[in-house]
Symmetry: C2
Subunit: 418 residues, 2 copies
């Protein structure tokens, strides 16, 4: 027992070392089909663990339909539905393709994605655009307009600026934003503002034509959630090299598809351990109630996986206006998360807790032992297809995922133990 415990401690130290040494840099924006490995035509990537069409949540189905219409694969939602149901359009999880996406997380070939390279390890991660409609399941034509502007106008201009800059290091922006009331998941307002500051001069220097320059600057200087995609890609790029450390009990991904909540564990490779996705406690936009809300959805819990989001809520109490709750609860969430993690981040610190580092490296043993599960900030989608965002709140990861993972861990590493 002591021998395996020692092996686990050593492995977990290595896992969190890799997470902490990550150096995420935004290097490019390009159509997903050109850069995401294994993303073919007539294929959609989605958030969360694998799921089939019958079990897929309403919001995620709606978002898939929107993607098919956006790509021109179907003339209407009915035809699109048939193509997905028949397998004529395939779909796989983002996480299988080095990618992440907020809410339904849908990514298809012609959508430009943010490309973040982890300079410390050489790997890349991809995230789609953040918008409030199609990614929540709204597939009406006007709900797709943001995708078209992103593809045709904003993304190409930002790509030109990034080319001019030679990349934008994200570590300094994230560290600074955590001292500016962000938690980088539901509230990336400071990081978004700093990002827009950083892009303004390069957009001009890249000689983007004036009308496109103004449209793009207006988009980024007013999009308070734009940095969520960069936080997610940075988190994914930071977590991926921490995958596959033998004997490590540290979580390397948490993701939801509106039906299942799944986690991956470093020492257990790419296997998903799932449980039914929970429903968020939160605040609903006017006209919606808890009965309208679907189960939790999105790859965005990759931010909590590396120690942001709900884990640093103590430093981001401005978010309480959006999700409800008290400052005392926010403080206690961050304190609780220290009890289930391996270490504190040397890079990302919380002033309100005396510049303590963010809690990094969720240890499935500690979760099961304490019964304390990760706290996740989240947005709320409708249970049915066809709606934009309807609310925001806080959700707790299901304990069953961690129990199942711990069982699998014992089977793999202690096969002879009774």
């Amino acid at each position: 027992m002591d021998e395996i415990k020692q092996k686990i401690e050593t492995a977990n130290a290595e896992t969190v070392r890799r997470i902490n040494e990550a150096d995420p840099v935004l290097v490019d924006i390009a159509p997903a089909g050109e850069v995401i490995p294994g993303l073919h035509d007539r294929m959609v990537l989605h958030s969360g663990p694998p799921v089939d069409w019958q079990r897929m949540s309403g919001a995620q189905r709606g978002s898939m339909l929107g993607t098919a219409l956006f790509e021109g694969w179907a003339k209407d939602a009915g035809e699109a539905n048939d193509l997905f149901a028949s397998g004529a359009i395939r779909f796989e999880p983002n996480h299988t393709h080095q990618a992440v996406g907020p809410m339904a997380g849908t990514i298809s070939a012609s959508m430009p994605v943010w490309i973040v390279e982890n300079k410390a390890f050489g790997n890349r991660a991809f995230c789609r655009q953040v918008e409030p409609s199609q990614q929540f399941g709204n597939y009406r034509d006007d709900a797709l307009q943001g995708l078209r502007l992103w593809r045709d106008l904003w993304a190409p201009a930002l790509k030109a600026a990034l080319g001019r800059m030679g990349g934008l290091p994200l570590k300094p922006i994230i560290a600074k934003a955590l001292q500016m009331g962000d938690e980088l998941h539901n509230r990336p307002v400071a990081a978004s503002s700093l990002f827009a500051n950083a892009m303004a001069c390069p957009l001009i220097e890249a000689n983007v034509p004036k009308d496109r320059l103004l449209a793009t600057l207006r988009y980024i200087t007013n999009h308070e959630l734009i940095f969520l995609a960069l936080a997610m890609a940075a988190a994914k790029a930071s977590a991926d090299p921490a995958t596959g450390v033998e004997y490590s009990t540290v979580v390397t991904a948490m993701a939801r598809n509106g039906t299942d909540f799944g986690i991956r564990v470093s020492g257990l490779g790419e296997e998903w351990f799932t449980a039914p996705a929970p429903r968020a406690e939160g605040l609903y936009f006017p006209g919606y109630t808890k009965e309208d809300g679907g189960a939790d959805m999105g790859d965005s819990a990759i931010t909590e996986t590396v120690g942001w989001g709900g884990f640093v809520l103590a430093g981001a109490t401005g978010i309480l206006a959006l999700v409800g709750g008290t400052p005392e609860e926010a403080m206690s969430y961050s304190r609780d998360m220290r009890r289930i993690t391996v270490t504190a981040s040397p890079n990302y610190r919380m002033p309100i807790l005396g510049f303590q580092g963010a809690p990094v490296g969720i240890d499935i043993r500690k979760v099961v032992q304490t019964g304390i599960v990760p706290v996740i900030d989240t947005a709320i989608a409708h249970r049915e297809p066809g709606h934009s965002i309807i609310g925001a709140g806080i959700v707790r990861a299901p304990l069953d995922c961690f129990k199942k993972a711990l069982l699998a861990f014992s089977r793999k590493y202690q096969p002879n133990r009774t």
Copy 2:
């Protein structure tokens, strides 16, 4: 006694109503000599209460010399010194001219100033540029370069953009920044970032030539303290209409010149009540120690006067890396300030205290009764002329100012009381 107490309560309610209803809008930038009433050629405005050349602090004298050299009134510091000592160059407090300035606060005719109009009351306030050298007393030629670039390059471009926009409302930016870890005095980093984003498109739309556009955008997107001047002008524009409410015991200005700390009280008009300026407790830049530090200086305590700065430190703990102290101290400062103020701001709220409003309206009676004096965030200048910024910290207003004001209040409003 009950009658006068009632008159005071009514008067104070009116005073804080005026402060809370203020609607500061950045309307223009123009050379001080063209817009500040009573600012003549060969005249310098300075921070704090009135002071003569002999008693003026080293840093403020250094800044005055820099101003004279910048204006071309003298060929060297010696000649400039003689002109001030002889009265050939006059100087008066900013506060006498609807103006404020950080640190030495020096304003002369050719310096462009930010112009903030309080749309609710129709009055205007002016603040000079924030920079780390000349305003701290450094008068070397290279320390004046920032002033020249401001006058010739950055200010004209920003003026053009403001003309294009028709003004920038500051209330929303201030409210938002207070939820982003700013206290708007030593730490206006979020407000500065939001300001830069707000100006980006208008600078392009105003057809500022590309080289000047880029230079100006680079200046504002990298100047983390740029909004301090706007916070100060907004605070001054908010406090001025609250001056002269008969029977009001609410403070309408706090200012320091590096020699004296002075306050003004609404019911006592424009009279200053002074005590020796204290020294800040804080952190010094490498190469400097407490022995180098001069006494406290600057009009920037106008931000605390309306409830920001040290009064909202609980929500801005990121500043502790700069000024020292613990989160618990920061929380207790904000709680203490509630004990000496009349009300809580309906506009400016602190998430970490459950969205409580900032403490507004310092009541000299409460200060004297409790012995709790205002907490002020501050920067530290050298005791001798010729230096740039050497540190930052926290300072407490001297109790004597409030005692003297309360005595004067009694003499004015209760002359027959023994």
